[in-house]
């Protein structure tokens, strides 16, 4: 195992790119809430960045990628980065230092937990969210990451393809978001039809832009090498984001006007959908994948609103359903001509791959929803998930963090 400097450079840069997605999520979500809750919303991403970064090096990496235990979970052999050093691993990314692969994967774990926060903004108690995050990371993220990417993981062994996290990240976060929002209940005024107006759409646009930018690391970095496959995934990623952004723009235009909030949401949906597929499908498959994901996510957002479920920032609709479509689409468009480590999909006559993808999606959906529901109930029973009514009324920035975003009337 010799360290390749090109691969290592690209993976380190990709890791930093994915890191930038986390404040990207903070801005993306922060702009969509009311101004009294913008700091608390951003804190849920930034706080998670710090918290999970520590848990990952202490035990998370080992649980996710450590030596397999029955296809279910990694062993504790790599706890505290034992045996994880400057030499490449013998199983993962064998041309880069094991530490680099470990750090790249850390960012995926962090962003997955941060994504869930969008479901519960404006009323969850910060302390309860942190406790939930530790439990969820340990009991949901680590096992699922192991199933999907771990050597010997059960979904990997089944042959399900997930290039950069359609199931492990997006379906996982989306279904968990829905479960946690249902346990937590709606924001005050939501049932009465009060609309929670986004307070700063330019912030949402900046956040989406950082997400698109960082996603090049997320997807093209997942090639784990610096070469043709990374380039192919890069092009697929950009193409899907653009295709989905255009589609959502048109959908909002057909409704009345082409909104930028809709267009950037479409871009994110496209990035979600191409995530599992990026390194397995021809780059131009990004076009149909992007068109279909915006249609799915747009109508899921409407459906969610009609059912009066306060999954506030549509993590389920965009990440859950968008990720599910991406995983299914991988089973349709995949080609071994793109990636010899992959498989052919339905269009190349291999319908079995589509079935494998569906099994992976269904498994992660059920597991994530069920375990998150239970964890939510447990945290609620032990310490209460929700802030007090008057704390919610005054806003979480002041009640949870003692700060306000846009203060100061003098000078």
């Amino acid at each position: 195992m010799i360290v390749n400097s090109g691969d290592t450079a690209w993976l380190l840069i990709s890791t930093a790119l994915v890191m930038l997605m986390i404040p990207g999520v903070a801005l993306f979500y922060g702009g969509m809430v009311r101004k009294k809750n913008v700091l608390s919303t951003m804190m849920m991403s930034f706080g998670i960045l710090a918290l999970i970064a520590i848990l990952w090096v202490l035990y998370g990496y080992s649980l996710s990628f450590g030596p397999d235990k029955g296809g279910i979970i990694g062993g504790l052999d790599w706890t505290g980065l034992m045996q994880v050093g400057q030499e490449p691993s013998s199983v993962y990314a064998t041309t880069v230092p094991h530490l680099a692969f470990m750090m790249f994967q850390a960012m995926f774990a962090i962003i997955t937990v941060a994504l869930i926060s969008g479901a519960v903004v404006e009323r969850i108690k910060f302390s309860a969210f942190l406790v939930f995050a530790v439990l969820w990371f340990t009991l949901v993220y680590c096992p699922v990451a192991h199933w999907v990417w771990g050597s010997g993981g059960m979904l990997a062994k089944l042959g399900a393809l997930d290039f950069a996290g359609g199931t492990a990240v997006h379906v996982n976060a989306g279904m968990s978001a829905l479960a946690l929002a249902m346990v937590l209940g709606p924001r005050k005024g939501f049932k009465e039809g009060e609309h929670m107006e986004p307070h700063h759409i330019p912030m949402v646009v900046i956040g989406a832009t950082l997400l698109w930018f960082g996603w090049f690391g997320f997807n093209a970095g997942s090639a784990l090498t610096s070469g043709g496959l990374a380039a192919s995934a890069f092009v697929a990623t950009n193409t899907a984001a653009a295709s989905a952004a255009l589609t959502w723009m048109i959908l909002s235009w057909v409704h009345r006007r082409p909104t930028i909030l809709g267009t950037v949401t479409g871009a994110v949906a496209g990035l979600v959908a191409i995530t599992p597929a990026a390194g397995f499908v021809p780059p131009l498959a990004g076009i149909p994948i992007g068109i279909v994901v915006s249609l799915i996510c747009y109508y899921c957002t409407l459906f969610r609103a009609k059912r009066r479920v306060d999954e506030s920032l549509d993590v389920w609709a965009v990440h859950g359903m968008g990720g599910a479509w991406g995983a299914i689409a991988t089973g349709i468009f995949a080609s071994v001509a793109i990636n010899s480590a992959g498989a052919d999909g339905l269009l190349l006559g291999n319908g079995v791959q589509l079935a494998k993808q569906a099994v992976a999606v269904a498994t992660v959906m059920v597991f994530a929803f069920a375990v998150t529901w239970i964890l939510g109930k447990v945290v609620d029973a032990v310490m209460g998930l929700r802030v007090k009514e008057e704390e919610e009324a005054v806003g979480l920035d002041i009640s949870q963090h003692g700060e306000r975003a846009y203060g100061g009337i003098s000078g």
């Binding site: 107006e197 409704h255 909030l261 957002t301 609103a305």
Partner: protein, 112 residues
């Protein structure tokens, strides 16, 4: 002394200000406000679907004038802020008991 309080469309501030200035009225305080009247709200779009915003942005002008100037100023504002469509706003006039210029301590009409 009377206080004239006018709620007007944002885009009518410049014409109102220009005519008042020509007629010798320079002092005023302007605040951004939100309000509702017969105009009702507007529909805005969310990611998918839309929602109504009841309160629309307006400007509030506050001008304190001598009694004899009241009719003139009200007429100017009413004419310059007018578009003829719902949502042009309203003007209120109320008595002012006292006024003082903080810098010099002058009071009454001299402070205006």
């Amino acid at each position: 002394m009377k206080k004239i309080e006018a709620i007007i469309r944002q885009e009518r501030l410049e014409p109102v200000k220009a005519v008042l200035e020509k007629r010798g009225i320079v002092g005023m305080t302007v605040t951004e406000v939100s309000g509702r009247g017969r105009q009702k709200g507007v529909a805005l779009q969310w990611r998918a679907g839309e929602y109504r915003v009841d309160f629309l942005p307006k400007l509030r002008l506050e001008i304190v004038v001598k009694n004899e100037d009241v009719d003139k100023v009200v007429r100017i504002i009413a004419r310059s802020a007018w578009t003829g469509k719902v949502g042009d706003g309203k003007i209120f006039v109320s008595p002012v008991e006292k006024a003082m210029r903080i810098r010099t301590g002058e009071s009454g009409e001299k402070a205006l």
